[in-house]
């Protein structure tokens, strides 16, 4: 049911909307417009003159094999983070939903990582995986594995994926747990009387009923992996060694802030923006459709 509020004063609705509109204008529309403007210009090294070049920046980027490599890195990183954090969170939520002693404490503890700043979380993982002082790093080396994420790109990738996923597990966990608790107990009981064991109950009843939650989290986690993992990567590996953990968002920062190539950086921002708009559109379509079964 839709409810429509009727305002007597014609001005009031606009006044009430103004703060949100202002925030959106200042922090999104304006910078986004600037990014688009800069993405079609090339500046000289001192930032004194700029020249309108149409889509040359985009052409250069998309022809750059390094950029394609970064795209691949981002894809691997994002898919891994999403799958890992969704999978682990679902497992933990299912365990937390069953009757166990101290479930409350367990649930509270699981939510903690979400409250940590990315940089703090990264330092924490560094202390674990550092080959000289990290407990797990030392152990891996003692076991004969040549562990040093500062030299080995694959190992660096594994570490940033772990660190980034770890933070997102907490978020996913809350949603999955809420989703699980919304499934009526009697439905599960009916399934067990119908003859389904725990594993089959999970795959034929629980998992399908969780699908709206799962889809929502899938989109949120993808966006997280794309954009919000900058801090984690920056603190852990700086995109290295080489460019092995350089994702799109990290490269935007490298090219724009470090290398001062504003045109290229802006063009990349625009590409990223298109990706996020596409992802958001998918999400909105889904939320709007409001898939609920009961």
């Amino acid at each position: 049911m839709q409810r429509r509020v009727i305002f007597d004063n014609k001005l009031l609705p606009y006044l009430l909307l103004a703060p949100q509109v202002a925030v959106t204008l200042v922090f999104f529309i304006w910078p986004a417009a600037q990014a688009i403007w800069q993405s079609v210009h090339i500046q000289d090294a001192f930032g004194l003159r700029s020249e309108f070049v149409w889509f040359e920046n985009f052409e250069v980027i998309l022809r750059d094999p390094n950029y394609i490599e970064t795209l691949k890195t981002t894809a691997i990183f994002s898919v891994s983070v999403t799958v890992l954090s969704l999978g682990v969170a679902l497992l933990l939520a299912v365990l937390a939903d069953s009757k166990i002693k101290g479930a409350r404490a367990y649930k509270t503890l699981l939510i903690w990582p979400y409250a940590l700043a990315p940089a703090v979380a990264a330092v924490l993982w560094m202390f674990i995986f550092n080959p000289e002082i990290g407990s797990l790093g030392q152990l891996l080396n003692r076991l004969g594995l040549d562990w040093d994420y500062r030299l080995n790109g694959t190992q660096a990738m594994i570490m940033v994926i772990l660190a980034a996923s770890w933070k997102q597990v907490a978020y996913n966990f809350i949603f999955f747990l809420a989703g699980l608790q919304a499934i009526p107990r009697s439905v599960m009981e009916a399934a067990s009387i119908d003859g389904a064991g725990p594993v089959r109950r999970f795959w034929t009843i629980t998992f399908p009923l969780l699908s709206p939650t799962t889809f929502f989290l899938l989109v949120v986690d993808m966006v997280y992996a794309f954009f919000e993992t900058f801090g984690t990567i920056h603190a852990l590996t700086h995109g290295g060694p080489g460019k092995s953990t350089e994702t799109l968002i990290f490269r935007v920062y490298q090219d724009g802030v470090v290398n001062n190539d504003l045109g290229a950086s802006s063009a990349q921002s625009v590409i990223l923006m298109v990706i996020v708009i596409a992802l958001t559109a998918v999400q909105f379509r889904f939320v709007e459709r409001k898939v609920h079964y009961a």
Partner: protein
């Protein structure tokens, strides 16, 4: 088809004992209703039969096989839940076929069993729909269909009609009765509704505080309630309960208000004993002031139900008395009426324990 034997079954939650030793043997094909107020343990008992609750003490056997340690799926029972518990993401067909698929029944047989159940329950048109696209009554029928197709040893019903409106409830009640007569499957049915219990049951088990107050046919439970609790729970409006004392000769009961009710059969053994006297409202009739056992009441409220009339009155000593008379009201508030119990319609209970006194 099978018998269900419940032998001295107990259930404790920590120090709290919810079921305090229930014994009942349900015959093959029998319809047993577990009746009682909420919190009396009737649902718990049913869930113990289903295997959804552990059994603290005693034994439950289905078809002669003790099932205490078995999972619900190995007990060969089907259950209908109060909130239907349909699988919301599956079509009506899949809801009914789910249990059959799990048991590895071949597809053609699943098709034919579901089709048959759908025909019995008039669900044929809805097989492709989701539960959310059905009305409450239709969902209830799907839940029953899911139980029927399994062809189990026993049906368990957990207040299946209490989410339906009054009209639908009556209609579904008749359908359940017809279905059970037709299929002849042993059924345990939990309800707090005495009308459902009276109309559906072959036997009723009246429960209170985890104890079986009485097990008997609906008419036994109505005509010879084993305790004050049963007497008050069965019948609407409930039975009048008054204090009385059997006179020294054991031939009549002296009421505090002065009336003397003669007993149909003398009870010399109970002479002088304080009793609780139960009289059903429908067993009181208007009478002449000098008739034996007559009491005068002041009418406080008259409920005209059409087919009959319920009169709420007060005896001279202040006790209230409800009288149910056939037909339209013949009195008004404030009137004085003289009523007397029909011969042989008195129920005598122990004034202390509330148990029914043995017949003289």
């Amino acid at each position: 088809m099978a018998t269900v034997d419940i032998r001295n079954v107990r259930k404790s939650y920590g120090p709290v004992e919810a079921i305090k030793g229930i014994d009942v043997a349900v015959q093959d094909g029998e319809f047993l209703v577990l009746l009682g107020p909420s919190g009396c343990g009737k649902s718990t008992l049913l869930r113990m039969v289903a295997g959804l609750e552990g059994i603290t003490g005693g034994e439950i056997a289905i078809g002669g096989r003790v099932v205490n340690g078995l999972d619900p799926k190995d007990r060969d029972i089907a259950m209908v839940f109060q909130n239907y518990a349909l699988y919301p993401h599956m079509s009506v067909f899949d809801n009914m076929a789910y249990g059959l698929k799990i048991r590895g029944i071949p597809k053609p047989e699943i098709q034919s069993r579901v089709a048959k159940a759908a025909e019995i329950l008039e669900l044929g048109r809805f097989l492709d729909r989701r539960p959310s696209q059905l009305s409450g009554g239709q969902r209830q029928r799907v839940a029953m269909g899911r139980a029927i197709v399994r062809e189990p040893s026993a049906f368990l019903f957990d207040e299946p009609l209490s989410n339906l409106d009054a009209k639908l409830r009556t209609q579904m009640r008749v359908e359940i009765k017809r279905l059970q007569d037709r299929l002849g499957i042993t059924s345990l049915y939990v309800t707090h509704d005495q009308v459902e219990a009276m109309t559906l049951a072959d036997r009723i088990l009246v429960m209170n505080h985890g104890v079986a107050e009485q097990i008997g046919t609906p008419l036994e439970v109505y005509q010879r309630p084993a305790s004050l609790f049963v007497a008050g729970f069965i019948g609407s409006p409930p039975m009048n309960v008054l204090d009385g004392r059997i006179d020294p000769a054991g031939a009549a009961i002296a009421m505090p208000g002065g009336a003397v009710l003669p007993l149909a059969a003398p009870r010399a053994a109970d002479a002088g004993r304080a009793v609780k006297l139960g009289i059903r409202p429908e067993h009181l009739a208007l009478t002449a002031a000098d008739a034996p056992g007559a009491s005068s009441i002041q009418v406080e409220l008259v409920e005209a139900l059409g087919a009959d009339t319920v009169v709420y009155g007060r005896l001279p000593d202040g006790e209230s008395l409800v009288v149910r008379m056939a037909g339209l009201p013949a009195c008004r508030e404030g009137d004085r009426l003289t009523v007397a119990p029909q011969p042989g319609a008195l129920h005598l209970f122990d004034a202390d324990g509330g148990r029914r006194l043995a017949e003289a």
